[in-house]
């Protein structure tokens, strides 16, 4: 109890600091002005989402090899938190795009691949709701998770290769192109804070899934009794 409160406080502090840094320490962008400050939330969420999906992939692999329920719990938790962060990316993207490019959505390579990524993990979570038996659900979703994650670089590659005739965004044209060093530092700090938030959410969600496991055991006992 004490430890969890402490870690939550640390994360909130980090997030507050990163918020302060994004608005008051990072210099204003010469071309875009104030609006570019969405970058810190947007890009850091994207990186954190990818980190989360990577954790999901590792957990999926470990489940298939070891068959311990905890890897299944970690897998679903990481898949869900990854989806939350990617949702934030997809929501903040258009808000940024609208004043800068004049349109809400552009089929830019990264935005589009992130959308496909989001859809893949929605399918992953959907699959879980459609398999009743716990062991089978864990195995099938882990296998699909592995397929989905292997697909990610191919999705990014294909969209980037063929779908870039659209107007290239200014900042996202190349990774971090034109970012000043202070902006970089603030971005990495924000990512760090977001990773803290991810860990917090992941742990909370993992506990929930572990309790579901307990519940299933009790229910089986009740049926046997």
């Amino acid at each position: 109890m004490k430890k969890s409160v402490l870690s939550a406080m640390v994360v909130v502090l980090l997030l507050g600091l990163s918020g302060y840094a994004s608005f008051f320490i990072a210099p204003t962008d010469a071309k875009q002005g104030l609006i570019y400050r969405i970058l810190f939330l947007h890009v850091a969420s994207a990186w954190t989402g990818l980190t989360s999906f990577f954790i999901c992939f590792i957990a999926n692999l470990l489940y298939v090899l070891r068959r311990q329920p905890r890897w299944d719990w970690l897998g679903v938790s990481a898949g869900e938190t990854g989806l939350v962060f990617t949702t934030v990316v997809l929501l903040t993207g258009p808000i940024w795009a609208h004043p800068v490019w004049g349109i809400w959505w552009t089929w830019d390579a990264r935005l589009t691949s992130t959308f496909v990524l989001w859809l893949l993990y929605v399918s992953y979570l959907l699959l879980r709701t459609l398999v009743e038996e716990p062991d089978r659900r864990a195995l099938l979703s882990a296998l699909f998770g592995i397929f989905a994650f292997i697909d990610v670089p191919l999705v990014f590659g294909s969209i980037r290769w063929w779908r870039t005739q659209h107007p290239q965004p200014i900042i996202m044209g190349a990774p971090g192109a034109g970012l000043d060093p202070t902006m970089y530092k603030v971005l990495f700090f924000t990512w760090l804070a977001m990773l803290g938030l991810m860990t917090l959410l992941l742990r909370q969600r993992y506990r929930l899934e572990a309790m579901r496991g307990d519940l299933e055991i009790i229910q089986r006992e009740l049926e046997a009794a």
Binding site: V64, V116, L119, L120, S123, L126, L127, L130, V131, E132, R136, L139, L140, L143, F144, I146, F147, A148, I150, D151, L154, V155, G157, S158, I159, W161, W162, R163
Partner: protein
């Protein structure tokens, strides 16, 4: 060697099951035909633009058709309770997948070859000069669809709402295939056609990557 011979036996079984009724082939072909005709109402199919759109809608129709066609692949085994017998009959479960995915690739290719002339006439594109390249692209694309589709149909067959679930799992996964084969096909449909090697290579990489994963994970997909 043992893998190849058992694959050959199983493939023979798959083909015989299908060609006895030709259910899959006829329904898939009709489905794609319907989609191609209906699509023509959404834009002017005689315009120059249709050369660009044509390839994409052809592939989109094929992907939708494939996600329906791959449905019975494992479902049939399950409802007839033949899957465990199948698993006992071969030493390497990869043979089951190999036979099924080769059969599915063949079915898809047959559908495509039947529909290509129809498509060429309706959308006013010339396919003959580039036919051998088109066959290569359709082969690589269909192979990729069959590899992932066969694997995922083994997953969806074990879940509820299977008929709806397979397209949901499969279609986002096939984004790279859709993008790459659309671009290569569009280049071949062009007024001055050319082979986009980059795309052909990409499709080969996709196929190889997923074939490897299927080889590694196949046995887990069929676990009881």
């Amino acid at each position: 060697m043992a893998l190849l011979s058992s694959t050959a036996v199983l493939l023979d079984k798959e083909l015989r099951t299908e060609f006895r009724s030709r259910e899959l082939l006829t329904t898939t072909t009709v489905f794609v035909l319907i989609v191609i005709v209906l699509f023509s109402f959404s834009f002017d199919p005689t315009s120059e633009e249709s050369r660009r759109f044509g390839a994409g809608l052809l592939w989109l129709a094929l992907l939708f058709a494939a996600s329906l066609m791959l449905q019975p692949c494992f479902l049939r085994e399950q409802s007839n309770d033949t899957l465990s017998a199948l698993r006992l009959s071969v030493s390497d479960p990869f043979a089951i997948f190999l036979a099924k995915l080769v059969a599915n690739t063949l079915f898809l290719l047959l559908t495509e070859l039947l529909l290509l002339p129809v498509f060429a006439v309706l959308y006013n594109v010339s396919v003959l000069p580039m036919l051998h390249w088109l066959v290569l692209v359709f082969f690589l694309g269909s192979l990729g669809v069959s590899i992932t589709g066969t694997a995922l149909s083994a997953i969806s067959a074990q879940a509820r709402m299977r008929e709806l679930l397979l397209p949901l799992l499969l279609l986002p996964l096939l984004t790279p295939i859709l993008v790459a084969s659309t671009e290569v096909t569009a280049a071949l449909f062009d007024r001055s056609p050319y082979v986009q090697w980059k795309g052909v290579g990409f499709l080969a990489v996709f196929d190889l990557a997923f074939l490897t994963i299927l080889w590694l994970l196949g046995e887990y997909l069929l676990e009881e």
